[in-house]
Amino acid sequence: MNNIGKNYFDIGYMDTLAQGDSWLHQLDPRAKLITTLLFIIAVVSFGKYTIWAFIPFFLYPVFLIAAGGLPGGYLFKKVLLVSPFAILLGIFNPLIDREIILHIGTIGISGGWISFLSVLIRFVLTVIGALLLVALTGFNSVCEALRKLGVPKPFVIQLMFFYRYLFVLTDEAQRMERARALRSFHSGFMKYRTFVSVIGYLLLRTLDRAERIYYAMCCRGFDGQIHRLTSLKSRSRDFSFISVWLILFIVFRIYNIPEALGAWVMGCLG
């Protein structure tokens, strides 16, 4: 649990990153949100055997990491951490799809392996795209951007509260787990029954807390609406940011640059 707490939930560090002051940080959150969505759409829209055509897309994360002064290694570790999900998604492809579609020397490679690799690349690109958005913008500004872009308010408020109390909840869960671990001498893992009661108790505490928070909100005149003072201002450079990347994504999507490059090199050599 401690490890889980450390790895999955040090999202707080992302907020620290988001307080940087590069020009990327200062872009309108909406511009970054839209660009990220375009990036993700472009990446997932490729066919299932695509591999080489993804290479130009790595320009986007590399550029953002460099220009935003972000710790690339840290972000990459975050991606690795969630990668089991992607592996699980694609692991059966090689078993199902055994048709040989590529020969390297004398070894035939089946379509399943190609599409598995393709899933992994897509996964790395999309996850790092999303992580970069949060690292450059901050979770709350992303929420604000969602709201300004017309996402229903209750949904955005849910997200905001989720993020605010995630830390409190993990703290609580970790304290309970520590208390349990200190009194269980023989078993490292939680027994099923203990687990059920820990989860149940956590739920009760959460409900209690929810009620207290609601009360605190009522005390300060909550009427079902959350108002905020911040206003987003977009400038011309926000539009240029979106446009430049949009054009690049379209070019990357339509032209298979690595293949063309390869053909050109081969042509020169030949």
């Binding site: 907020d15 605010r164 807390r209 009360y215 909100m217 005149g221």
Partner: protein
């Protein structure tokens, strides 16, 4: 600082014969009456489960008494007056995490004023003023979960001050603070001119901040009078599982030193 231009009666808190039993049958209040007038600072003390928190929850209508009434200024606390009552009574919770729910400190302090529908500029000014009062202006852009307990408490107080309440109600304000933060808080509380009602086990705090104390025991008021007098009464304190404030106890170490 101006805290409203209401008549004096606006700041009076008057409870008469309050009874409350929780849905599970636990007795909360068992006939409580008192009257707190404008500008008074009152400590509410008593053992765990004496009814302090239950009483506080009645002060702005979160719980409503099964019997008896409570009046805040000109209004009885009832459903139709809740808005005016809650505007008038500023509540500082025991656990600041329950009170700070917005993404940044600034947003949180602005939450109340925004709900009151104030002008944008006024809101900014109020937020800055409230944060300045508690010495927390530098925390403006920080997310609340990153603050220390002491900082959280200061900000929680600012969120309430920004609504310009007439009456400040606090539940165990010093319970999670280190000695220095506690001292700072006590200094701050002394500067407030509001009517104050503070539920606490920290009798030294009560001595410093409150000239009057109400002792609760099993849902009843067992004593109500000047703080210094009540705290001399060891029987009364003992009955409520309390002890004399540390400053009023003879320090064994110093006494031994004197003998030598």
């Amino acid at each position: 600082m101006g805290y409203g231009v209401f008549g004096m009666s606006h700041h009076i808190v008057e409870a008469s014969d309050l009874y409350y039993t929780y849905p599970d049958g636990t007795m909360g209040l068992n006939g409580i009456s008192f009257r707190i007038t404008h500008g008074e600072s009152v400590a509410l003390v008593g053992e765990n489960g004496a009814g302090k928190s239950t009483l506080l929850l009645h002060l702005n209508g979160y719980l409503s008494a099964a019997q008896g009434t409570i009046r805040i200024g000109d209004y009885p606390v009832a459903k139709k007056n809740l808005d005016s009552v809650r505007r008038c009574v500023g509540m500082v919770f025991q656990n600041s995490d329950d009170q700070l729910f917005m993404p940044t400190v600034f947003d949180d302090v602005a939450f109340g004023p925004l709900n009151l529908g104030l002008e944008k500029q006024d809101i900014e000014q109020k937020v800055v003023q409230a944060l300045e009062t508690v010495n927390a202006l530098h925390l403006k852009h920080r997310p609340p979960y990153r603050l220390s307990q002491g900082e959280k408490k200061s900000v929680a107080i600012a969120t309430v001050l920004a609504m310009s309440p007439d009456i400040l109600v606090m539940d165990e304000p010093t319970s999670s603070l280190d000695p220095t933060s506690r001292k700072r808080l006590i200094g701050l509380l002394k500067t407030f001119k509001h009517t104050k009602i503070i539920a606490t086990h920290d009798l030294d705090l009560a001595m410093d901040v409150c000239e009057r104390t109400i002792v609760l025991h099993q849902g009843k008021v067992t004593a109500d009078g000047p703080t210094m007098e009540l705290f001399q009464d060891e029987n009364l304190l003992h009955q409520s599982s309390l002890e004399k404030p540390l400053r009023m106890q003879q320090c064994p170490v110093c006494a031994a030193a004197k003998k030598r």
